[in-house]
């Protein structure tokens, strides 16, 4: 044992100069490694099993619970949202129907007003046209008479200027024939 350890130490000392055998097979330091390994494993085991693993397990369980709750809440909210959307759609449809009804009513009203106004305007226009025709006829009458008078007078003057004499009756007849023709 002692010679082995000194040999190993000798190996370690002149390691730079010479390559030793496999250090893994140097059984003199196995006891040392095994001792420290067991210490290490026991320390890690206690740290993990006493502190780390329960803590992480708690955190994970808590998070799982929170997530489950949140998902339930989210489902509820989603149902509510669907409900609200349905209500909204229904309100929208109602409003649209109402609007259509109002539009139709307004259209009918306007049409009726328009019809009445058109009829009234038509009647007025007809009356006005008749009146105007009558006035035109009167004016035309009047104009014809005036022409006749002026023509008769002018004719009488002309006849007198020419030194003739004509009775009024002949002149009136001649004028009447002319104007008519």
């Amino acid at each position: 044992m002692a010679s082995q350890t000194t040999e190993a130490a000798g190996h370690a000392a002149d390691a730079a100069a010479s390559a030793p055998g496999m250090p893994q097979l140097d059984f003199s330091n196995w006891g040392n490694q095994i001792f420290w390994l067991l210490v290490t494993l026991v320390v890690i085991y206690f740290v993990l099993s006493r502190i780390a693993l329960p803590r992480i397990a708690n955190v994970l369980a808590e998070r799982q619970g929170t997530i489950t709750n949140d998902i339930a809440a989210a489902d509820e909210l989603k149902a509510k949202a669907v409900e609200a959307e349905e209500a909204y759609n229904k309100a929208l449809a109602d409003a649209r129907a109402e609007a259509q009804r109002i539009v139709a009513e307004a259209k009918a009203d306007i049409q009726a007003d328009l019809d009445a106004a058109t009829a009234k305007a038509d009647a007025e226009i007809t009356a006005k046209a008749a009146e105007s025709e009558k006035a035109i006829a009167e004016i035309r009458e009047g104009a014809l008479e005036s022409v006749k008078v002026v023509a008769t007078e002018t004719t009488a003057e002309i006849v007198a200027a020419l030194g003739g004499s004509a009775d009024d009756k002949a002149i009136a007849e001649a004028i009447g024939a002319r104007v008519k023709g």
Binding site: A19, P20, G21, M22, L25
Partner: protein, 74 residues
């Protein structure tokens, strides 16, 4: 003379590493072929894949160990 023979032996033992490489390649290649045929089952078999690779590789490590022993411990 004896040392040189040991070195030759170490070189021969290193062939075992190549054999292990063939084995590992076989495992991984067959896994890949299977995984491409049925990708949905691939994830559940990765553990088996690693176990298979580990077993195949362990034997290559044995031959590597023999080589090391011949090089340094004989």
């Amino acid at each position: 003379m004896e040392g040189q023979l040991a070195h030759i032996g170490a070189g021969l033992a290193a062939i075992g590493s190549g054999a292990a490489a063939i084995g590992v390649g076989n495992v991984a290649g067959n896994y890949l072929a299977g995984a491409l045929r049925n990708p949905s089952a691939a994830a559940s078999q990765t553990a088996t894949l690693f176990i298979g690779i580990a077993f195949a590789e362990a034997l290559g490590i044995f031959s590597f160990l023999v080589a090391l022993l011949l090089m340094f411990a004989v």
